[in-house]
């Protein structure tokens, strides 16, 4: 009992004791707690908000750039619109030309009709080159044309000369073929497909050689290259001549037969 009394007295006296910690004690503890917790965790809602705002920003930026590209296209569009009537005019002109040639064919002699056909075969190349769908290229060609009109460059001159030479040479070849066919028809012999093929092949080879010679002689020019590509896009020379001859051969044959009779 005495032991319990002794213990109780000590417990009571020491239990009432309070010892105040030093002033910086809480600061020390607070710093330890801060270090333990580390950087404050960002709530998922905040992360979602940040992600949403980033997506919104990206959309805005993409819209902005799209608007810019549309503006560029808009700048091109008027040129295209301006160009369209020209194309239609050219097309209408070619459309007008075709019946005119047909009418002439009805009335002219076989020689004259053959010449008309030959002219028609040479002429359509110009409008065909204008039918390229890409508006940027059209614009460039327009700008180039305008600049050429203002300040004709020697390079352009050379390329146009090369083109003229080539077209003259082609016209000459067509004329030769027509003459050959006419000569055969004059002799009242039937013009076979094999004979025509041989004529076309020879003419085509000559034209290719002539083109090559022109290319090697002349300087490399952007317009000449462009014209070359455009020519490749068009129907081949052989197909064009063949179609033209096929369409007019019957009429020539009939005319020659009537004259002999």
């Amino acid at each position: 009992m005495e032991q319990n009394k002794f213990d109780n007295e000590i417990r009571t006296k020491l239990g009432k004791r309070r010892l105040e910690p030093s002033e910086g004690a809480w600061e020390k503890l607070s710093q330890r707690l801060e270090a333990e917790e580390g950087p404050k965790k960002v709530s998922p809602i905040l992360w979602m908000g940040i992600a949403a705002s980033l997506v919104g920003l990206l959309l805005l930026v993409s819209q902005f750039f799209n608007a810019d590209s549309n503006a560029v296209m808009d700048q091109n569009t008027p040129i295209k619109v301006v160009k369209t009537p020209l194309n239609t005019e050219v097309e209408t002109e070619t459309k007008k030309d075709v019946p005119a040639v047909k009418n002439e064919q009805d009335n002219l002699t076989p020689k004259a009709s053959l010449n008309a056909v030959a002219e028609r075969l040479v002429k359509p190349e110009a409008p065909a080159s204008n039918k390229i769908e890409n508006p940027i290229i059209i614009q460039e060609s327009i700008v180039l044309d305008e600049s050429v009109a203002r300040n004709p460059l020697p390079g352009n001159k050379a390329s146009s000369e090369i083109a003229d030479n080539t077209s003259d040479f082609e016209a000459q070849k067509i004329e030769d073929i027509v003459k050959n066919v006419q000569a055969v028809a004059d002799r009242q012999q039937e013009v076979s497909d094999a004979y025509l093929d041989s004529l076309f092949t020879a003419a085509e080879k000559d034209i290719q050689r002539q083109k090559f010679i022109n290319k090697t002689k002349g300087t490399v020019d952007a317009d000449a290259l462009l014209a070359d590509v455009e020519n490749e896009l068009d129907e081949s020379f052989r197909t064009k001549v063949f179609d033209a001859l096929k369409s007019s051969f019957n009429s020539v044959k009939t005319t020659v037969a009537n004259r002999n009779n």
Binding site: E2, Q3, F6, D7, E9, I10, R11, K13, L14, G15, K16, R17, R18, L19, E20, P21, S22, A25, W26, K28, L29, S30, R32, L33, E36, E37
Partner: protein, 190 residues
């Protein structure tokens, strides 16, 4: 009646503070610290003679309190929960300092019946401080903290018999020391 209502109000406030402190609310943690720091420093001082070291141990104890507050389920008093953490922290400190040695040597203990009513708290603490670490720890755990011998044995990793003998010897030694203090002070007073 007024004091009863005051206790209920404090209890409610404490619960609210604990809930906030669980969410790392620094202000609530500070309030809880202010409520219990002085008492817990006194507890740590029972075991550790140096006040500064006792304070460091107390701060480590509070650090564990706040970082493990989610484990407190509200069963039992919050003060009791903090107190247990402080006691464990103090014993851990003594082990680290290699001061926690249970002496099996018998010290000469005179059977002295001591009346402590005339002694000051500081004298009692000074007398406790002079006890060997093993005696002191077992005595404080049993006589002041109210631990049972099997709990002390488990906590200090000793047998129950050792705990009992250590307590018996600590008590006798302390009574003799306090008697000497009492004689000295009485003599000085005269």
């Amino acid at each position: 009646m007024k004091s009863f209502l005051k206790v209920i109000s404090l209890n409610n406030n404490e619960k609210a503070l604990i809930q906030k402190a669980k969410k790392n609310n620094r202000e609530a943690q500070h309030r809880l610290y202010e409520l219990y720091a002085s008492k817990m420093l006194s507890v740590c001082r029972y075991y550790i003679n140096d006040l500064q070291q006792a304070e460091d141990v107390m701060l480590s104890g509070f650090f564990k309190v706040f970082t493990h507050l989610k484990n407190y389920r509200g069963e039992g008093s919050f003060e009791g929960w903090i107190r247990k953490i402080m006691v464990r922290e103090a014993i851990s400190f003594l082990r680290q300092q290699k001061k926690m040695e249970i002496s099996i040597e018998d010290q000469v203990v005179k059977d002295v019946a001591q009346n402590t009513s005339s002694l000051e708290v500081a004298d009692i603490q000074n007398a406790i401080d002079t006890l060997p670490e093993g005696y002191k720890t077992v005595f404080v755990l049993y006589a002041i903290e109210g631990y049972k011998h099997h709990e002390i044995a488990k906590l200090l990793d000793i047998t129950e018999g050792t705990s009992k003998s250590q307590l018996f010897k600590a008590r006798k030694l302390l009574q003799g020391k306090l008697a000497a203090f009492d004689k000295r002070t009485s003599y000085g007073a005269k």
